[in-house]
């Protein structure tokens, strides 16, 4: 059994190495403490990072806790991180936006919104690991439905899908 400080250290190390969201239950399993204790320590840890105004923050999302840089320092990180080599085409970006907001969604549904074929864009997004097949629609032909991946969130600096920029007025207008 770990003492409190060690437990914190272990959780920090796990969050750092994992580099993606990890559920509090998994943290509890790995460190051998109860779910409740893990939750308390996690919250305490996140608070400490906030109070210290550390360059790192611990955010909780629906998929668990994840470590990322504090938004205030984003321009320094941008400066320090290697430039993104490949840019997404406009077609890929639009397709990705539609999938992100409407997931799960079939190819035909994406095409209906954009008014053009989407196979090439879907293929390239899938190859880059930004979208994946998430099931089949219970409709004639059982078409594949697509959703975004964890890699998508990371690439766009989102801790969860809830972080997506809010959809625009027209959508509200229609809805």
């Amino acid at each position: 059994m770990l003492v409190r400080e060690e437990l914190k250290g272990a959780i920090e190390a796990i969050l750092f190495a994992r580099a993606e969201a990890i559920h509090v239950e998994e943290i509890a399993r790995i460190t051998g403490v109860s779910r409740e204790d893990a939750q308390i320590i996690m919250t305490e840890l996140a608070q400490e990072y906030n109070e210290r105004k550390s360059g790192i923050e611990i955010v909780s999302s629906e998929t668990g806790f994840v470590m990322c840089t504090r938004p205030e320092y984003h321009e320094y990180v941008k400066e320090a991180s290697s430039p993104q080599v490949t840019r997404l085409s406009q077609a890929a970006l639009e397709t990705l936006a539609i999938i992100a907001y409407r997931q799960p969604i079939t190819r035909a549904e994406v095409e209906a919104v954009r008014g053009v074929r989407a196979d090439r864009a879907l293929q390239s997004l899938q190859k880059r690991g930004l979208i994946e097949e998430v099931g089949k629609k219970s409709a004639p032909g059982r078409p594949v439905m697509y959703g975004t991946t964890g890699e998508f969130l990371k690439l766009f600096g989102l801790t969860s899908l809830q972080d997506l920029p809010p959809a625009l007025e027209e959508e509200v207008h229609n809805g």
């Binding site: 580099a19 984003h74 077609a91 919104v113 008014g115």
Partner: protein
Amino acid sequence: MSYSVKLEIYEGPLDLLLKLIEQNRVDIYDIPIATITDQYLDSLEELAEVDLELLADFLLVAATLINIKTRMLLPRPRVDETMEEEEDPRQDLVNRLVEYRSFKALAQALEQRYEGVLPRVYFRDPQELEPQVELHATLAQLVRSFRNVWIEREETEIPVKIPEGDVDIREQMQVIEEWCSKRRRGLKLQDLFVGAVSRREALVLFMALLELIRQGRVRAAQDEPFGPILISKTWSRENVG
């Protein structure tokens, strides 16, 4: 006025329509359908440079535009008092355009995050650890591998060298005959070599078998091409007696 446009730079027919609406500075909810349709059709003259798949999509919207234009030119039927306000023929298209426009904006917002224009958080790549490896294997695989390799062994190890004098072919001939007499249906060729722990032993067994076949004391039969070769005792008269 005609707008000469290169269609390649448009993401699709809806994108082209949006650009035309923008250029004309008209309200998306009140599109001057005649003007926009004409401009859209003018733009289609560039279609030779567009691949066929794209062309079909552009033509579909062109047909929609012409249809709306026609409906708007027709005298409006008298509105029945019980009916609600007649729907604007442009409504469906407007809805699609508005929806598409909002996704274009969202795509742009995403792009800005991606390029770090807007404040965002950054993650790191997972630490390079010695990965925790989970080995997957099944017993069936293991058994199959053993069979494969054991059977293949017989095929690859055709004797190339006469064994030295410390091997007794006669003894092995007896062994084979004994095995065969225990099995009425015969013995699979490869099973003959199961007990052999060395090349030499396998070789001697094989030579013993050849000798038995030559003398007509056992026979080797294969029921089907690539099927197992069965070794069985020849039940000659003297054997029976």
